[in-house]
Structures are given as structure tokens and as C-alpha cells.
Amino acid sequence: MRPRPTTGQALALTAVAVAALVFGAAFAVDLGSARPDPVPFDRTVERGITMADAQIARNREISVPKVEVFYSQYRYVVGYAGVDMAVTALSEPGHEQQFGYPLAVYVSDYSDKPVRCGESNYLETDVPPDWVLASDASYVVDGRARVPSSPAIVPFADRGDAEAFAEDCGGRVVGWERIENRSFDVDEAETVREQVEPRRERAAAAVEGAQRYRDRPVSVVVGRDAATVQAGVDAAPPNTTVLVANGTYREQVTVDKPVTLRGAGATLDGRGNGTVVTVTADRAAVVGFEVVGIGNQTVGNRSASDSEAWDAAVTTAYGNSDAAVTGRNASGLYVADLAVDTPASGVVLRGSPGAVVENVTVDGTDDWRDGFMGVVAMHAPVVVRDSAFRGGRDGVYLHRADGTVIQNNTFTENRFGVHLMYTSRALVARNAARDQEYSGVVVMTDPAANAVVGNTVSDSGAGISMSGSRSYVADNVVVDTGRGLSTNAARSLYERNVLYGNDIGVAASTVVPSNIVTENDFVANERHAVSGPGPLRIYTHEGRGNYWGGAADLGGSAGPTLSQPYSPTDPVDRRLHQTDAAFVLRAAPSVRGLRALRGTTPGFRRGSIVDTAPLSTPANPETIAMLRNQTQREAST
């Protein structure tokens, strides 16, 4: 006879049974089948569209087809404006390693929606599209339909609707597998690198063209042929020079014809009353003056505009800042050899494509809050070079000035040295900024394809602060700032920069890591690099990483790269250049073991950076040697 089990025995049996059941169930469940549901687009981490394009789309009610991707190893849903942007991102090398594979891809579904190619063939619909799985959709490609930056690829859940749309707007209908394997003409950061030289050459050509205005024959001499500068301009025939003799001229001048206004030791004094010289004609030039007595109105009346453009308020306010010279629709305006002392702005260029500012010094207010910009350029590409800006708000402020080139200038004691708003495809090269309140170069509002090359920023709040995408940041030297370089521009290339003696060398701040950061030198920074929210960033490209002061192999390294990875966000590694004891801890078995497997799950990791092939010698050895000598000299005095 079997006795009844005791309570203890019953409990033990129950515990074993429950454990077996729970553990068995954990293995029985298939984890691969769950597919997340789509989320509203504004809740995704958005990529792919510049703010300027987004503003244009909103303002003109253009519908941009969207894509959202759920990655297996990335916590946030990533949204792409434009199917081409999504496909380009999905096919990026290393994409899968960083984010895992896509669990689900949804695209905008225009089926049963009143979609059409409207004004200028822009894609329009009165009812916002739903979502459909990318693999289930049919796509209309190569038709007339457009979005602000590119031809539109329009997805439909229903193939019949796609065919009907193709009837109306042209194009053909294809499936996801054809879209997925297509390559799109998207400017990548590498392309921008190749554009640096062409942009420089275009700027040089613009400058050369403008400099010819210096040689126009003199038709009027102010002080001899005319009493005032304005009278001289009024009397001069087009394509001649109005020469202004030595002396001070207390007046405001309007130039409304293609003439060159040239001073010879002359001072223009606006008597504190508005802008001193206003140019409204093409191909005019203002050369060789000292300009004083500029009005102190920093911004115009924002509400004065009746334009319906989305940026009308900015245009009116910033475009009407008091200045030494203002160009309005003055293409090819040449402003050179000016010495400006201003409580507001130096030169304002509105809609003046090809304008050139060179060899100008602008002395602004001591406190940036009181003054305004050295140069404001809006709505057209200009060239600003070989000039010096001290004080005031921003050295150069760009608003929708795509393709502008800013070269060889010096910026001292401004708020920002160079400030890009809604400006894409610009070149900011070989400028020197120091003692900037906030930042040497700052790029805002998510533009694309900018190049920031060979600049030097020192003793400032921050060095170079990027945003947007597909930009090229190279060969810059940032010394003694609070934050050397912020990599908040996605899918961009950051190479051969020197970050020396900053509180923070690089602040990695994009939520989606997609940048290439390679061959930069990090030396003597309090923190070489820090990382914001988002998964692990890998700062190595094609087997080449960066030079990290302090990083070293135990056995000494013979090759160009170290065999041990370096992580500037790791609590041990980041102290290697501060204390040698960190070496001892780094060699501990547990520390080594812990690191070994970590790269398996980069998408899940937060806030960290790893360089898998750190350089054993600096990429810019001369610059580093020079900076080290300088530091030693300063320390010894």
C-alpha cells in the first residue's frame, strides 16, 4: 500500500511540475511570428527629409509617401520620408549588423484615396494615406509625380489602383522586390566629399567674375564731379565706376544700376539711421569704404510681410536688419575692402545669387545680444571669403542659401561663427573661429549635403555642431572647446578631424547611428567622446578607426591599427589617457570577458561607442605635435 504524500512532498512535486511547465512553455512558443502594428508617422524617428523640404511640403500640401521600419534589434520605429530614402538606408552596408533585420516594413497606402499629381506634378491627396506592408504593395515609379526633392514612388495596396494612377500620372507599376533592389540617386557623404573641389572652383569663378567690377572705367568722381555719393551714382552710366574721394560722407545711398562704387580713403556715415548702402541692381559693386553710423535696428517688423511663403516672417525680419550694405535681388553683387563698425548687421544679401563678399571686416557689438549678423545671406548662394568678423551675433548667417561657400574668414567673439539655417550643399572651409560664445560652426534644421572642411575652432562653447544628413566634415581642428564636434548629422562622413583639449571631443547625438567616423584624432580631451540615446555606434570604417590618446596595446603595436578595440564611453577605456591604473583593470579577466561578446547585440545597447580598429598613430601627426608643443609652452610659462 502506498501512503498518501505529506504536505512537504506535495509542495515539492508541485514546484517541480510548475517549473517543468513554465520552462517547457518557454521553449514551445514560436517567437518569430509576431509582427508589430504600424504607428503614426510623427512618432517615428524621422529620417531622410530636410526641414526646408518638409516646410515646403507642408506649405504647398504635397503628400510625401512614407515608410516605417521596425528593426529586430532597434527599439524605436524608424520613419523615412520617401521610399527612395528608406531603400537606400536599408541597403547601406553594415545596416543589418547595427539594427538587425527588418521585422516589418510599412509604406503609405494611397489605395482608395483621392491621390493625384497636382500643381507642378507634386503628389497631392486630401485624405492622408493608410499603411500597408511593403511586400504587399504595388508601386508606381518613373512617372511624372514628384515630391519636393525627387520623383515620387507611390505605393498602393491595390494593384488596380496603382495602374489607374499610372494611367493618370505616367509611370509603371512594380512590386517591392523591384523597389528593394533599386539604387537611387541620393547624394551620399562620399559624393559630397568629391564635391568640395568643384564647389571651391565655382566660388573661385564667381569671385573672379566679380573682381572685374573693380576695373570699370571711372565716370564720376564724388567730391569733384558730384557733391554727394548718391548724386554720383545717379549721374554715372552703367558699367562705370563712381570714385569717392577721401572724406566722410554723411548720407544713405541707393545703387539701382550696375555700377561700381569705389572709395579711396572715404568714410560713409549713415548717421545712425538704417542701412547705409542699398543695392537693388544686378552686377553692382561696393568697394573700399569705411562704413559707420549704421542704424541699430537688428530685425525688421516680422508681421510686415504679405507673402505666403512659409519663411516670410524670417525673410522680413532678418532681411531688413540695418547694415552697411544690403543687396536686394542684386545678383552678382560684389562687396569688398570694407571696414564696418555696426550695432546691427554688416552685409545683408537677399535673393542675390552669386554675390561675393571679400576682404571685409565687420566689428559688431561687444555683447552678442545687442547686435546682429556680420553677413546675412538668404534665398540664394553667395561667397563670403577672406573677411574678419568680430562681435555681434553670428559671423555669417545663412537662411535657405543653398550652395553658399564660406572660405578663409576669421570669426572672433561672436555667438556663432557660421550659422546655417535651411541651407544645403554649402561649403564652409578653412575658416578660423575663436572665442565663440556658443559654437564655431553650427548647422541647424536638418539640411543635406553640406561640407565643413579644414576649419579651426578654438576657445569656444562648442566647435562644430552639425545637423541634417549626408554631410562631410573633415580636416577640421577643434581645440579647447566645451564640445568639439557634435555628429548630429546622419549618414555623414567625419574624417581626419583633430579634437584636442576639449571637455568633450565628439558628442554622438543622432538617435539612429548611421555615420562614418574614421581617422579622427582625439587627444587630451576630458572625454574623447560621449553618446546620447540610441544604440551602439561603431567608429570604424573599412578596417580603419580613429586615433584615441591613451589607447594602446599591451604588447606594443607594430601595425597601423591596434588589435584591442577602444571604447571612449567605456568606464575603463575612457580613463586610459588619464591614469595608467586603468591599464591594470582593463587586463582583468572579468573585464575582458564582459567585452568579448558585447558587439553581438549593438542595436540593443544604449549610449556607447566602440572603435574596433583604433589607429596606433595620429592621422594628423604634424597638427598634433604642434598642439602638444603649444600646450607645453603654455604650461611652462
Partner: protein, 271 residues
């Protein structure tokens, strides 16, 4: 007294003895500190279950057999040295019931030592892993608590297997001194030896690319690690699935588990 009663009596005696042993509390505390410390240093719990497993795997592979051997290395050797086994001969208690009872008792101790901190860590992941910002819509990706439960199950099983291996050596030892030496040797073989042997075999041509999975699955540590990759970490390495043959690994673990318990019983019986 029935045989089942004998098993139960021994089991209860072992558990009671363990409860009286304060040192186990210390071991639990140290183990918990080590596991939480490693996970925290690795940053896994903030990321999710899979990264936590990735952080833990290396240390768990060393710590779990170590704790299992600590719990089991004297389980049979001690009573044998004290002559307790000879006394038991006079009771109507078959040696399988005795060995089974001791094993079950020590298992309860071991599962508590290993399971509690790991389960607590799982709870920590559940409460801390989450998006850093709520501005954006977030989802779990392929991460899932079930993956962690799988890891827990595999690890507890691995602990039980390590304990049974410790039991064989304990039965073979016969004295406390020898028990310690044998246990240390056994621990080295389990944690390092198997992998090094496979590695050497690979180097020497004995193991090939085709047989590597099988060879790994033969060793307890290799089989355990293989199953963790197969059942848990596979989500992190898309496109790879055949880490080791699952059937071979399970078979091998069963072999080491049941085999060493049977061996323990046989050795104890012949004493």
C-alpha cells in the same frame, strides 16, 4: 519504511542541513553581487533580455559549475569518510534512494543559489529596460522575456548537470582532501578542458568544420553554450541557426546528467 520514504527523509535532511549552513547565505549574496555587477557593468539590463544574456553568458559558464561543485564536492565523500554509508547499509535504504535524496536536496540548494539572483535580474530587466525617451514610438524588437526564461531554464539544467558531475567525483574521492583536489580538477575540465580539447582537435585536424558542432555538443559546456545560442541568442545573429545540433546537445547533456548520477550510485553501492 518504504524506499520513497527513504529518499524523502534523506532529501529533507539535506535541505535542513543546508538551511542551518549560514555560509550558503554568504555564497548567495556574493553570487548575486557578481551577476548583478557584471550585468550592470555590461549595460545589458538597460537594453533588454538578450543583451543581458550576452553579458551574463561568459561569467555564468564559469560561476555556475563553480557553485555546483562547491555545493556537491563533499556530498558523498563526507558521509563516506565519516562511516555514515556503512551505517546506512544496515537500514533498508537502497543506495539509489540515498544518492537520489542527497542529490535532490543539494539540487534544491543549488537551484536556489543560482535561480534566485538570475530571476531577480530578469525582474530588473523587466522594470528597467525600456526606451530612453518616449518621444518616439518604440517596440521590443525580437527581445522577449521568454528568451530569458529559456536562458534561465538552460542555466539551471546546466547547474544540475555540473552538480551530478561533482557527485561522481565526490563518490570516487572517499576522503575530504581528495574530494577537494578531484573537484578542482573536475571543475577545470568542465569549464575550460572541453573547449580547449575541441580547440586543440580543430588545430590538430582531429575535428573538422563538419564535425565541430558535434564535437562541441559532446562537452557539457559546449552543449550548454550551443543551446543558449540555439534557443536564445539566435535572434541577435540573423541568418545563423545551426550553432550546434540541438538533438546532439540535448542528448549529450542527458548523457552527462543521467550517466554521472548512475555512476555515482554504482560507486557508492560498491563501497
Amino acid at each position: 519504511m518504504t524506499r520513497a520514504d527513504g529518499f524523502w527523509t534523506v532529501f529533507v535532511r539535506e535541505v535542513r542541513a543546508a538551511i542551518r549552513t549560514r555560509a550558503y547565505l554568504g555564497l548567495l549574496a556574493v553570487l548575486a553581487a557578481a551577476l548583478f555587477g557584471v550585468a550592470r557593468a555590461g549595460g545589458g539590463p538597460a537594453g533588454g533580455y538578450v543583451p543581458t544574456v550576452v553579458d551574463l553568458l561568459v561569467v555564468v559558464e564559469v560561476l555556475v559549475p563553480t557553485v555546483a561543485f562547491a555545493v556537491g564536492y563533499r556530498a558523498i565523500a563526507d558521509p563516506a569518510a565519516r562511516g555514515e554509508l556503512d551505517v546506512l547499509e544496515t537500514y533498508p535504504l537502497p543506495s539509489w534512494a540515498y544518492v537520489g535524496g542527497v542529490y535532490a536536496g543539494r539540487s534544491a540548494v543549488l537551484l536556489t543559489l543560482v535561480g534566485l539572483p538570475l530571476a531577480a535580474l530578469g525582474v530588473q530587466v523587466a522594470t528597467t529596460a525600456g526606451p530612453e525617451t518616449t518621444v518616439f514610438a518604440s517596440h521590443r524588437g525580437v527581445d522577449s522575456p521568454l528568451l530569458y526564461v529559456r536562458f534561465l531554464a538552460l542555466t539551471l539544467w546546466y547547474a544540475l548537470i555540473a552538480l551530478s558531475l561533482a557527485f561522481v567525483l565526490s563518490a570516487l574521492a572517499g576522503s575530504r582532501g581528495r574530494a577537494l583536489v578531484l573537484a578542482l580538477a573536475g571543475l577545470l575540465v568542465v569549464t575550460v578542458g572541453g573547449d580547449v580539447a575541441v580547440f586543440a582537435g580543430l588545430d590538430g585536424g582531429l575535428v573538422t568544420s563538419e564535425t565541430l558542432g558535434g564535437a562541441l555538443a559532446m562537452t557539457p559546456a559546449g552543449a550548454y553554450r550551443g543551446l543558449v545560442f540555439d534557443q536564445v541568442l539566435y535572434v541577435a545573429v540573423p541568418g545563423r541557426s545551426a550553432f550546434v545540433s540541438g538533438a546532439v546537445a540535448v542528448g549529450s547533456l542527458l548523457f552527462w546528467w543521467v550517466g554521472s548520477l548512475v555512476a555515482t550510485e554504482l560507486v557508492t553501492d560498491t563501497r
